[in-house]
Amino acid sequence: MTVRTEWDHKWSMVVDIDRCTGCQACVVACQAENNVPINTEDIFKQSRAIEWIRIERYWEGEFPDVKARYLPAMCQHCGNAPCEPVCPVYATYHNDEGLNVQVYNRCIGTRFCANNCPFEMRFFNWWQPVWPESLRNQLNPDVTVRNRGIMEKCTFCVQRIRRAERTAIQEERDVKDGEFAPACVQACPTGTLVFGNSNDPNSRVAQLMKSDHPRRYRLLEHLGTEPNVVYLKKVDPYLKEEAHNGSH
């Protein structure tokens, strides 16, 4: 009894780096939505902070011609995901809507998948996540609170996808473009993140990720993991030379 939808969805994301200001709204939104444990000072000290989406900041140049480049990075939901075949227990697999799904209950914590994720997008629960009792009130009932010893990562807010699809089924229609958005996309004030069904050629995401978009690229494309997240290049009119344009 596979959960089947009668339509053909492929959930995809577009990230327009030129818009991102590094404001972190997406990050906190994701943590609130997905019951991500609190990243305490200790956790940061241990280099074990969990941020399903994170803003990577890269320096370029030297003072005074210095630039900070922001990369919003989340699981790329690779079409050919290296994290999947290495999982011995099928705790991570590809579903029929283009998502790289993580089944917390199956995971035994080998961390194999994390090693094989070239994007460093998987997070391990090194400790039992704890919240002060009162803060547990905030936990999203649609999202499992993960146990210690298992892997987690961005799910494209699958609970929101499911909710939207269920509503659509009840109302006997297809999910409308922009009807819902993952928490990070919803939050992002600059419109850097766009989400939708890329199988629908009229969706905004499909329009933006067209192969002829002049700024289109994908992360580490040469690895052939076929990421389901498409990036649009940063524009810098004062760039010295048109560097960084190779697909490698």
Binding site: E41, S134, T155, L220, L239
Partner: protein, 759 residues
Amino acid sequence: MDLTRRRFLQLSGVGALGAIVFNGCSIPETELEIQSPVLIPEDVVAGGESWYASLCRQCPSVEGVLVRVVEGRAKKVEGNPEYPLNLGKHSARCEAALQELYHPDRLQQPFRRDGATGQNKPITWDEGLNELVTRLKALRDAGQASRVLVITDPLRGHLGKVTQLFAAAYGAQHLAFEPMERVVLRQAIKDVYGQDRLPHFDIGNSAYVLSFGADFLGTWVSPVSHSVAYGEFRQGEGRGRGLLVQVEPRFSMTAASADRWLPVRPGTEGLLALALAREIIAEGLADPDAARALTDGRGIAALDAYGLERVADDTGLTTYFGKERAVQLIQEVAHDFATKRPSLALGGDTAAAHTNGLFNLRAIYALNYLVGSVGAKGGVIFNPPSPIDDVPDTASGAPLSRWQEVAERLQRGEFDVVITRGVNLVHGLPGALQFQEALKKADLIVSFASVPDDTTAIADLVLSEHVALEAWGDDIPDPAPGYQTVGFQQPVVRPLYDSRAFGDVLLAIAPEIGDDLGAALPWNTMQDVVKEGAQRLFALNRGWAKATAPFDAFWVRVLGGGGWWDTTAISAQKAPGASKAPAEPVRPSFAGDASSDAFYLLPFRSHALLEGRNAHLPWLQASPDPTTTGVWQTWVEINQKEAERLEIREGDLVELVSPAGAIEVIVYPTPAAAPDVLSVPMGQGHASYGRYAKKRGANPFQVIAPQKDETGALAWAATRVVIRKTEKRTRMIKLEGLVEARQMEESPVIQVTRGEEGS
């Protein structure tokens, strides 16, 4: 799944084959079989949810939010897509309203603090209010009502009205406190544009934004609304890509997003603005009327003091870029600003926080006249007055001069009762004021708080207040989005603890203090007050929620929609036109060591904690600073080469010493800092503010010297400090890994294009 014989054979066949040949290239048939029993919990959605519209109170912008409530518990805060300011978007701070609501250290009932033992004794609301009323009554009866001081955060909307009415009717002093007030900004807007309300900066329609000091994408004025516009400005459909130039001595988040960053010397922003004006006029690109007004009809000779080369030197650009390039840069900016229209100049934050802050801002805002951007699309758009006339629609903290005065009066024992609400004076005023000691001179300090902070810690009577998600309220945004807007705040959950709303308490005690007070405040609850405001909007019979049905239908609509607004109700006011530029520049002066060992200290609002009001919220403590990615700590950003010169490394603990005091911070060398500047995030250094903020990091207000601008406002960027090394080391805690993140040349993860393709 019924297992037919055929299927069994299929399965075993595939299974055996799969075991022999590692079928890694494609998803084997069997995987679909395997998938079926493994239903991940997220596949099953259960439970209903409700979304309530309300207002976000995590920062002074006050934007519209929707709160998700499941089983009576608030679960998620998101931007209200209808709300004109933020259009469905929100900031990192906003989400953390939940953590305020559920904060483990929230006050669950009122407390009385025993002055002798310092012990907190839980009391009932009745006991607490009794004491307060008795005290206030006694003072008033003795004709000493003015010995009562009410200090709140800047309050707009009906809560502001109630508070003002209360203070006025009682005869108490009412002051608003904000650590980084907008006094200078308001004065400059008033002086240059003749506006009482802050204007709307139309970034989204602008082609060129020139920002002086204002971290408008991070924390300045209305960051989410700016960011929404910024997205459009960058890559909006059907428009070219806007250019952003940031003139700021610090590498703020906005500087990081800018196409060009001009790190001028602190306090010279106005100088540069006038040099640009001179250049624009000289090139003949300026609006003639504005040029004439600015130069008093004398042509650019009137601006001789702002010659290109001189300003290039004075602003320090020569030092960083070399003379030739510095001059070229200024010319380029002037040219682009004048030609890439509509263009917009705005300024604030550090540009305003100097002894010459007003000079700087006036010069900056005058630029908009030269390019015809005042009152025009893509420029500065004026805001109409509030649709409800007798509620405060602008609110700003009192300037430093007032606080100095208050501190002195407190010291002289001129106040008996001090009531504070939503302000942390002890943390947010420059340490040199010794405000804590002054406050203690009062007989009774009453503090309304939901999570006890440094000021609550010295209060005698602590009254547990609702958090925003539990309380009624409304807001007249300032700045508004260019048209009349009123936001409505409704409780989205039942109060968790024995707490009350500040407004409700004022309304409740007013009649008890005196009948005249009761008459001045004739409402029972804030809900009534807000509802009455809504009634007045209903009476206007316009705006999106306009309803012909009875008021109740209107009420449901504005509550459900999160507010009332009328896009046609725009400002009719005209700008007075440019006025004469000062012939001679006003130069900044700095407190502290003037030697070359000293650095300019640029404290800045943390993008998440702001000046410290959000420091108790763990999500925000853990939210990486956009440029350093630092968390949970207070660090000092120092130019890498300077750090090398001083032989300090990342993680070293150093003391920053100013005449006002010293703080211990962690060194973070960065390529993005001017050599003579140190910047330190605000927000930490609380003696008490719940478990997540307590005794963490340092408070830069401790070293900020109480320098003032001519408006009397705190010139918080006008202090110079020296670095004193300590032998201590720790680890700079940040999200960035252990290696300075720079892209690998042959495989950059962020690809950059010059964008000639037209996108």
